[in-house]
């Protein structure tokens, strides 16, 4: 371990250290605000250290025998930054949310920090070992986070469901990795890439089988159809800030890895893999958008919509070419902002004993709480892809990328399902703008920090939608380092 390596790993180290520090502090004296502040401080420090790490890029960490375990390059650091920012927003939202709960609250931040660590590991991973460990850390932390409000049966249910399905998907991934390892005798992405691009795989069945199993695992994690069945229940059951985290950070990290894995190994060039992924993308778009039509709960609607959005991202992913990775990354950024804003509103509106979710909870929101209503409206616009929001430009970019590489059938499906999507977003909007019933109680006051975050997210939504240039340049630079 040289100083160079340590500097490169600084973001990871800082996050782990913060988790330990929060744990020790909670053991000595419980203080919710202090725990949240420590967490934010740690995240900020890690974010700052990204710059230091960026100076050294790209740096592979590993050994000659094991191959490179982590790659700290612009791409990884970019996603780490995204993860950290998203997590910071979740921390602020969670603080306001947990303040209303009677149970131990400090442990949440330990779990969250470790989950962030797992996500960051995924973003930088270029080896099956670090990939799997990162994924497991993320999942294990999420089991507990999903079931965090133990007094709520629905939260426990979410935890158990996530546990079972995440464990099952992990076995798929492992088996897939094992098959690939059996075939290639290596677990490092760059070795794999070397052999796969050279076409040295005598046993195509094993490779295809391995990749298929891995795709299944990925599918579970990203909630792509037909592996999406867990999503609505967990989105509904988990505490709102956790849902926000699951929807954004964990999926973002997963996609970051997916991108790196498939692009660097070139696995997506296998025709069968391409076909399978295309079918999955189509199925996700259909299942997500059609499923959402039947829901009466905003959290469930957002769950189905996330399935659809993951389908869109997959389309961008399949577009490959020059624009593909950029489209994926940009879409993820827009999706982060939008989803965080939407769940932020849900979080802020949730009373102590349950989460806001039923459409009735939002009736007349715009009249009662104009600010919150406005944020929710913006988020829904963005999700639906209305112009002048981040979502519009992201979707536009995806379509452009798809058109660029000529995957027309998928693009047409994307456009059609987006139209369907418009319908259920509008249903929510109708509720938001309808005349309020007098009897409905208002949720507690939104804390200043949460309000600030929500305002910031809305501003970003519009800014990215109207002036995407800055972000686009950053994305281009980051993705550029992916093709070494």
């Amino acid at each position: 371990m040289t100083v160079r390596n340590l500097t490169a790993l600084a973001p990871l180290i800082i996050v782990s250290a913060t988790a330990l520090a929060v744990m020790m502090a909670a053991a000595l004296r419980r203080n919710h605000a202090a725990a949240a502040l420590m967490t934010l401080g740690g995240i900020a420090a890690a974010f700052a250290s990204l710059r230091a790490a960026a100076v050294l890029r790209p740096l592979a960490i590993g050994s000659s025998e094991a191959g490179q375990l982590l790659v700290i390059d612009g791409y990884g650091l970019f996603f780490m930054g995204l993860i950290l920012l998203g997590s910071a927003a979740v921390v602020v939202l969670a603080h306001g949310y947990l303040e209303r709960q009677a149970e131990h609250r400090e442990e949440f931040y330990i779990l969250l920090l470790v989950a962030v660590l797992g996500s960051m590991t995924l973003a930088a991973s270029s080896h099956f070992v670090s990939f799997f460990l990162g994924l497991e850390i993320l999942s294990v932390a999420l089991y507990a986070m999903n079931a965090y409000l133990r007094a709520r049966a629905i939260s426990l249910e979410a935890g158990i469901k996530y546990l079972v399905l995440a464990a099952a998907s992990a076995t798929f991934l492992l088996f897939g990795m094992a098959l690939l390892y059996a075939e290639f005798g290596t677990m490092s992405f760059d070795y794999l890439a070397g052999q796969m691009t050279a076409g040295i795989y005598p046993n195509r069945a094993m490779v295809t089988g391995g990749i298929a199993l891995m795709v299944t695992g990925f599918g579970f994690k990203l909630a792509l159809a037909p592996f999406h069945l867990w999503t609505p229940d967990i989105y509904e059951g988990a505490p709102a800030p956790v849902t926000a985290f699951v929807a954004t950070v964990s999926k973002g990290a997963m996609f970051a890895l997916l991108l790196r894995y498939f692009y660097s190994t070139g696995a997506y060039r296998l025709h069968s893999v391409f076909v399978v992924l295309a079918i999955i993308a189509a199925a996700s778009m259909l299942a997500g958008n059609l499923g959402a039509l039947l829901q009466n709960n905003l959290k469930r609607i957002l769950a189905y919509s996330s399935i659809a959005h993951m389908g869109y991202v997959l389309v961008a992913f399949l577009a490959a070419g020059d624009l593909g990775p950029e489209a994926v990354t940009f879409y993820l950024i827009a999706y982060f902002i939008t989803t965080l804003a939407a769940f932020g509103v849900v979080t802020a509106l949730s009373p102590a004993d349950r989460d806001a979710g039923r459409l009735g909870d939002f009736e007349g929101l715009i009249w009662k709480r104009p600010a919150l209503g406005g944020v929710l409206t913006l988020a829904l616009f963005s999700l639906a892809g209305i112009p002048a929001t981040a979502g519009f430009f992201a979707k536009f970019y995806v379509v452009a990328a798809g058109a660029d590489s000529g995957i027309w059938r998928l693009i047409i499906l994307l456009v059609l399902t987006s139209v369907v999507g418009l319908f259920y977003y509008l249903r929510v909007l109708v509720a938001v703008f309808s005349r309020p019933l007098e009897s409905r109680e208002l949720a507690p006051q939104v804390p200043f920090a949460s309000a600030f975050v929500l305002a910031g997210l809305s501003a970003l939504l519009v800014w990215v939608g109207v002036f995407p240039g800055t972000i686009l340049r950053a994305v281009k630079a980051a993705v550029g380092s992916l093709r070494y």
Binding site: R150, A151, A153, L156
Partner: protein, 374 residues
């Protein structure tokens, strides 16, 4: 809000006894357990019920005296003493001093013997197997003195209503003195094994806490009450025989207002020392004289009198309520057994503790089922 968490297991109901090595006889304790933690308990008694109080109604006053030995069979002398005194009180009879001091010596020896048995078994319950052999060794000496005096070791029937049947045998004083001299050192020996032993401390301290007000409310008496810090001893409060003429202290627990198993352990050890002190004084005051008061061969108290007389037995306040109807048979004898009353506080002490503590708590109450069930 649900009380239980997701991982809570079922509650387990377990029967301790009536055949169990640690319930000191045929006590049956029904325990509700959460894991090993006791969430509730119920003592089920009556397995040794022999109807002793009813038997009294069909026996003459003298004939009934041996029966009371069978109640607290490890402290037969004090049982008999209490009964004899109760009838004597009913008759208004005076007992000569020699008989009084003899009774006191034997009663205190019996207290020591009873405490020794308690100490041995209590330690055995908590897993220390050696003290029981030591305490039985010393108890044997006491039982030998009893045997020499009245021919019986356990159910002695040592006293008669009105005084003593036998005068002391030659060398009694010498033997008792020898015993008192030897015994103090032995108590130190027991203490060496237990009092400062870390495990013993952990097993007894803060276990089976009984607050003074609870103890009084439950009418708990004897070392259990004194362990909770209440200075109450029938020998001091309502002196009988010649207890007002000897000097001794009433040891109490370490705390103000509450006591734990360790307190009760300390109290009993200190009581043994005090008993030795009483014995020494009583032996000095033994002087020759009559051993039997003015009580006729046929005991026939006047009708309609009833008397309650209590003594401090090794286990607490042992009371007899004797009602006469003018015949030679008592109309009613009612016993207030300390074990039975003290046992009522068991649930209070055991709740929230572990199974292992249940054993310690039963041991620390020092019950004898013969007395509980009668």
């Amino acid at each position: 809000m649900p009380e239980v968490t997701y991982l809570d297991a079922d509650e387990l109901v377990i029967n301790m006894g009536p055949q169990h090595p640690a319930t000191h006889g045929v006590l049956r304790v029904k325990l509700k357990l959460d894991g090993e933690r006791v969430t509730g308990s119920e003592c089920i008694i009556g397995y040794l019920h022999r109807g002793i109080e009813k038997i009294a109604e069909n026996r003459t006053y003298q004939q009934f005296a041996p029966y009371v030995d069978r109640m607290d069979y490890v402290a037969a002398v004090t049982n008999g003493m209490g009964y004899c005194e109760a009838v004597e009180k009913l008759l208004g009879a005076e007992i000569p001093p020699r008989a009084q001091y003899t009774r006191m010596i034997l009663a205190e020896l019996q207290r020591i013997a009873s405490h020794l048995l308690w100490l041995g078994t209590h330690a055995l319950d908590l897993g220390a197997m050696t003290p029981v052999f030591y305490t039985f060794r010393e108890r044997e000496e006491i039982l030998r003195i009893f045997e020499n005096y009245c021919g019986a070791r356990l159910t002695t029937h040592a006293f008669r209503i009105g005084g003593l049947l036998y005068d002391l045998y030659d060398g009694f004083e010498k033997e008792v003195r020898k015993f008192s001299d030897m015994f103090l050192g032995k108590i130190d020996e027991y203490e060496q094994l237990l009092t400062k032993n870390r495990i013993w401390l952990e097993r007894t301290q803060n276990v089976g806490i009984l607050k003074a007000e609870d103890a009084i409310a439950y009418a708990v008496t004897g070392p259990v009450l004194r362990g909770s810090g209440v200075k109450w001893d029938v020998r001091k409060a309502q002196p009988y025989e010649a207890y007002d003429k000897v000097e001794f202290d009433v040891p109490v627990g370490r705390h103000e207002g509450w006591g734990d198993t360790y307190d009760r352990y300390l109290v009993r050890l200190a009581e043994m020392r005090q008993s030795v002190r009483i014995i020494r004084q009583a032996v000095e005051r033994l002087e020759s004289g009559p051993i039997f008061g003015k009580v006729g061969k046929i005991i026939k108290p006047p009708a309609g009198f009833e008397v309650y007389h209590a003594i401090e037995s090794p286990k607490g306040e042992l009371g007899y309520l004797v009602v006469s109807d003018g015949t030679t048979h008592p109309y009613r004898v009612r016993v207030r057994p300390p074990s039975f009353v003290n046992l009522q506080a068991f649930d209070l002490m055991a709740r929230g503790h572990l199974i292992a503590d249940v054993v310690a708590i039963i041991g620390t109450i020092d019950i004898v089922l013969g007395e509980v069930d009668r």
